[in-house]
């Protein structure tokens, strides 16, 4: 078993492994495919399901055959992986090589007939088995053990029958055999299979064991020898010895180019292999003219063989389906007669028939039987190729055997009828990008008329050397390009794994290597090359190398198109490591926040909660209370006033004495400014309050009063003041004893302007008496008098204020800004008491005033007691309700 050294770890591994069993590194560097490189073999066994049915059947037959006789297969068929293009009929190889039962009946019959002569033919045991070995030998071995002349007797009767039937297709064969139109487009591998038949024609001379199928091994050996065979000198410049060329060389022979070699008059000492090739050439194609034209007896029997073999090739499938001749009942017999058919061993072992100038009907009888006995799918292929060559008017000696005109046959409906479907499909252009179409260019060039003619001439001159040259030699031109083109062609048209079963044309070295692959031996689906377009779809290594460092510990793919790659499919779900951690949706709330939230909930709840309304007392009760209180006050005060009661005592105070002293300081007849700045509603209070002061000034000092007011009603109030204070009774006359300065607009500004107006001569006033019911008016006058200057500020300022404004103006009196202030009826009554109870208004109100205060105190106390009683009642009721 061959071993492959791993480039990564340096350890040896079996060659059937794709990756190292130690380090899992890919062993086959060919897995790296770049543009322009040849694809490597890959296991595409999974593609078997998409194969056509007929291919599946064929492969299944091959599998069965291999399973039935593995040991025989191993011995006889070394399998070596080869780089040849895949073959559509590769699977048939095993069928024909490994199992006799799988060999088609018609082929088995042929093998039996050819085997008989091999038994009688002296040949070494170690030589190539059977007649296959001789297929290639005529090309490289000039000396053949078989007689050079093929006898007409050697031609079986069934083949002669074919000659007759082939005449019916003369026209068609003539067209197809034209060298100019010979385009080996349909050079498919099925034709390679016929290489074995090509070998059949050469092998019988050396075949020794009748039933030994080791001839297949010899076939490989012969192929190898063919690769080593020196090419003719005339073609040395064109033909490049290459294994691939040799593999396909049998196609040339099958195609018919080698036919002229057999048609050439060969010396009697020429090898029988030439004759074998002749019959096979006829099998491949052109044969009809050979049968039509009477060949001279002295001419080589190969011409006759070609003629009948052409007829065979031109015969349709039923020709092969005829039952085998009675003599070919066993496989040995088949091989023997086939050996004879090849012309290699028949002349030596069996008496050959005299020269045949024409086909005989008797010989065709057994062939008809053979047609009935055999029923192979590959038979029509032979029929077609036979027909192609059968109709040519060119003498058989100058007609190359070609399968190229198959394309032209497609245009002929009669030919289409006899063309099998699988062959039609093969002939049809593939829908895939067909590199094969390009690869056929060389083939077209190969089939140019001029070249073909030159080859014919060369073949005529070279004799057997030319005859050994394959008609479809792929070594022509650029052999490597041809191989690549074929590779591309068959990669497209069929899976490569099919090529694994083909071994006929593979180089021996590769076959041996392939034979060592256990996988192939154990499994019918051997690792094969992936098509180039499939490998082009594989990830390029440059992209993989970028991530090689990170994916070294990842999984290596072992199956499918990604086999051998590592880290392509992630071992773990994608994104699992990037998935964000689960976060709790529960809020982290502090105690303070919870308190605030609860407070907010309470507020919201209180907004929606219906608050019980407090029961309010009836309005009538309050109104009654108001009426009661109002009536009480009116009755009491009215009674007191109406009765003229003066029972309540009045006590003088020191303040009022000081006021009297101050007034005494005012010069007599001195102008005194009296500021009347109160509302009419307070006229009663202020008249009573200011009465004693004005009375004293008027009575004792005869002061000239100048009334000014910051209210428009001030003048009227001033007149009322003079009238109601008793001053008028003292002889005061308007504009004589008192003056109305009128309304003083402008507020504080007007006051300041009045004070500072020189026309007014404010300094002439000996005193200022401010009568006001609100503290604001008193503040303005106090401030502006202070602002007017020390002289004016030094003048006596007497304040007469209502009871409500008195407390607010008291600071100015306490601060010395005002000399004396009399506020309310209380001060007026006292000052009146000091002033000898003049004018007596205050005193008249005093009892009523006192009564009103007492009523107010009583009402307040009564209300307080009522409230306490009501609360006590509610508490008691609450206690009773609780109890």
């Amino acid at each position: 078993m061959a071993e492959i050294r791993c480039s990564a770890c340096g350890k040896n591994n079996p060659d059937f492994l794709d990756s190292c069993q130690f380090c899992q590194s890919p062993l086959i560097p060919e897995s790296k495919l770049f543009i322009g490189e040849e694809p490597t073999k890959k296991d595409t066994g999974e593609l078997e399901e998409i194969l056509p049915d007929w291919l599946k059947d064929v492969r299944q037959q091959g599998k069965n055959a291999e399973a039935g006789d593995d040991s025989f297969r191993v011995q006889t068929q070394p399998r070596v992986p080869k780089d040849e293009p895949p073959d559509l009929l590769a699977g048939l190889l095993s069928q024909s090589e490994t199992d006799e039962e799988e060999i088609p009946d018609w082929l088995a019959g042929i093998a039996a007939s050819s085997e008989k002569p091999s038994l009688s033919k002296p040949s070494s045991d170690e030589g190539p088995p059977a007649f296959f070995a001789g297929l290639d030998q005529p090309e490289k071995q000039t000396v053949a053990p078989t007689p050079s002349e093929s006898k007409p007797d050697e031609i079986p009767d069934w083949m002669r029958a074919e000659e007759k039937t082939s005449k019916q297709h003369d026209d068609l064969s003539a067209r197809l055999s034209q060298p100019s139109s010979a385009e080996p487009v349909e050079e498919t591998d099925w034709a390679k299979t016929f290489a074995s038949f090509d070998s059949f024609a050469e092998e019988p001379a050396v075949q020794k064991e009748p039933e030994d199928l080791s001839w297949l091994r010899e076939l490989e050996a012969s192929s190898k020898e063919m690769s080593e065979t020196p090419m003719p000198q005339a073609r040395g410049s064109e033909f490049t010895p290459a294994a691939s060329n040799e593999d396909l060389s049998w196609l040339n022979e099958l195609g018919g180019i080698s036919a002229p070699a057999f048609e050439e008059p060969a010396p009697p000492s020429s090898s029988s292999a030439e004759e074998d090739l002749s019959w096979l050439n006829e099998l491949g194609g052109i044969s009809a003219p050979a049968f039509e034209e009477p060949a001279p007896p002295s001419s080589s029997s190969a011409e006759e063989d070609l003629s009948w073999l052409n007829e065979l090739g031109g015969k349709s499938a039923p020709a092969f389906e005829e039952p085998a001749p009675p003599s070919s009942s066993s496989a040995e017999e088949d091989l023997s007669w086939l050996t004879n058919l090849g012309g290699a061993t028949a002349p030596a072992s069996e008496p050959q028939a005299p020269s045949q100038s024409s086909s005989s009907n008797a010989e065709l009888d057994w062939l008809s039987d053979l047609q009935e006995a055999t029923n192979l799918p590959s038979a029509p292929a032979f029929a077609d190729t036979g027909e192609l060559n059968s109709g040519l008017g060119i003498p058989p000696s100058s007609k190359p055997f070609q399968t190229a005109p198959l394309n032209e046959l497609l245009g002929d409906e009669s030919i289409k009828d006899v063309t099998p479907d699988w062959l039609k499909n093969a002939l049809e252009e593939s829908s895939m990008p067909a590199p094969g179409s390009v690869s056929m260019d060389w083939f077209s060039e190969r089939e140019k008329p001029g070249e073909t003619k030159a080859e014919d001439l060369f073949a005529s001159s070279q004799g057997e050397a030319v005859s050994s040259q394959p008609a479809f030699d792929f070594s022509l031109g650029d052999s490597s390009a041809a191989v690549q083109d074929l590779d591309a062609l068959f990669n497209v048209e069929m899976p490569d794994w099919l090529a694994g079963g083909q071994e006929g044309g593979a180089p021996p070295s590769q076959q041996e290597a392939k034979d060592s692959a256990p996988a192939f031996a154990e499994n019918a689906l051997s690792p094969v090359e992936l098509p180039s377009w499939v490998q082009a779809m594989r990830p390029v290594d440059s992209a993989l190398e970028e991530t090689a460092a990170s994916v070294t510990d990842q999984i290596t793919e072992t199956q499918g198109p990604l086999a051998g790659f590592r880290g392509i499919i992630p071992a773990f779900p994608i994104g699992s490591s990037l998935r964000p951690k689960a976060l709790s949706l529960k809020l982290q709330v502090t105690g303070e926040q919870q308190t605030g939230a609860s407070l907010l909930e309470q507020i919201i709840a209180s907004e929606t909660t219906v608050q019980p309304q407090k029961e309010q007392a009836a309005v009538s009760s309050q109104r009654v209370l108001r009426w009661v209180l109002s009536g009480l006050f009116l009755m009491v005060l009215g009674a007191v006033i109406g009765l003229g009661s003066k029972t309540m005592p009045i006590y003088a105070s020191a303040t009022h004495s000081e006021l009297s002293s101050l007034i005494a300081t005012i010069p007599e007849n001195a102008p005194v400014l009296v500021v009347v700045d109160y509302e009419p509603s307070f006229a009663g209070e202020l008249e009573a309050t200011a009465g004693p002061l004005l009375d004293q000034l008027a009575l004792s000092r005869r002061a000239a009063f100048s009334f000014i007011s910051m209210s428009p009603t001030g003048s009227a109030l001033a007149d009322r003041l003079i009238l109601n204070t008793g001053v008028g009774g003292l002889g005061y006359q308007p504009n004589l004893n008192y003056f109305h300065l009128g309304f003083l607009p402008g507020g504080s500004s007007g006051v300041l302007a009045f004070i500072e107006n020189p026309e007014n001569d404010f300094t002439r006033f000996e005193g200022v008496i401010l009568i006001t019911d609100h503290a604001e008016s008193g503040r303005v006058w106090v401030e502006q008098l202070q602002a007017a200057g020390p002289e004016i500020a030094a003048k006596p300022l007497l304040l007469v204020a209502s009871a409500q404004a008195g407390p607010l103006l008291q600071p100015y009196v306490s601060a010395g800004q005002a000399d004396v202030m009399i506020h309310g009826l209380y001060d007026a009554a006292k000052y009146e008491f000091v002033n000898n109870s003049r004018p007596g208004t205050a005193r008249a109100y005093w009892d009523a005033f006192g009564s009103g205060i007492l009523l107010a105190v009583f009402a307040i106390l009564s209300g307080g007691v009522w409230g306490v009683l009501m609360r006590m009642r509610e508490q008691r009721r609450a206690e009773l309700e609780q109890e």
């Binding site: 005060l637 109406g642 307070f682 006229a683 009663g684 008249e687 428009p712 401030e783 309310g824 109100y845």
Partner: protein, 211 residues
Amino acid sequence: MSFEVVSAVIGLLLTLMVFSYLIGDNPLFRLAVYLFIGVASGYAVTVIWHSVLVPRLLDPLGNPNRLAWTVVPLILSISLWAKLSPRISRLGGFAMAVIVGVGAATAIGGALTGTLIPQVEAAMDSFDSSEGAVMLAGTVLTLAYFQFGAKRAPDDTIKRGAVIELLAWLGRLFIAVTLGVLFAGVYLSALTALIERLSSIINLVKSLLGL
């Protein structure tokens, strides 16, 4: 019947109409109020015309010597009429600015010289006796009552500090006394007015009855 008796009777009726408010809002009360407002307004306009406009604005126009001093106030007074129309209200802006500016300046000057400084001096002088201490205590305690800063108690109740709470309670007493005094002054003024009205009515009735 003399004018004084008629005026007294009218006065009596209007007084009774105002007293009718004891039984609620009624047309007599409203009539008395509207009449008082109307008479007061008419009387004010008359007073302003006769006491202000004629002697201080119109009369100087006839005196060429005082004409120059009268034109400027006249223009400013007329410009104030522009305030009635939004389109030309800008014309009265200057006059209004003069009025407000002069009034503010006068008030500030008078407040400083007539109230702030003298009252500060008086407050300082008041400390010669116990009056100043009472004034200071009353002032501080009253201000302490309006101190609403508080902290959260351990039982999550919001309360002011104990000292501030005590001062505020005392300040509330000062405020209550002050408001009581003011209310008492209002009551005394009203009571005096009521007495005067009742006395007037009674005296009228007596005079009418010949008592």
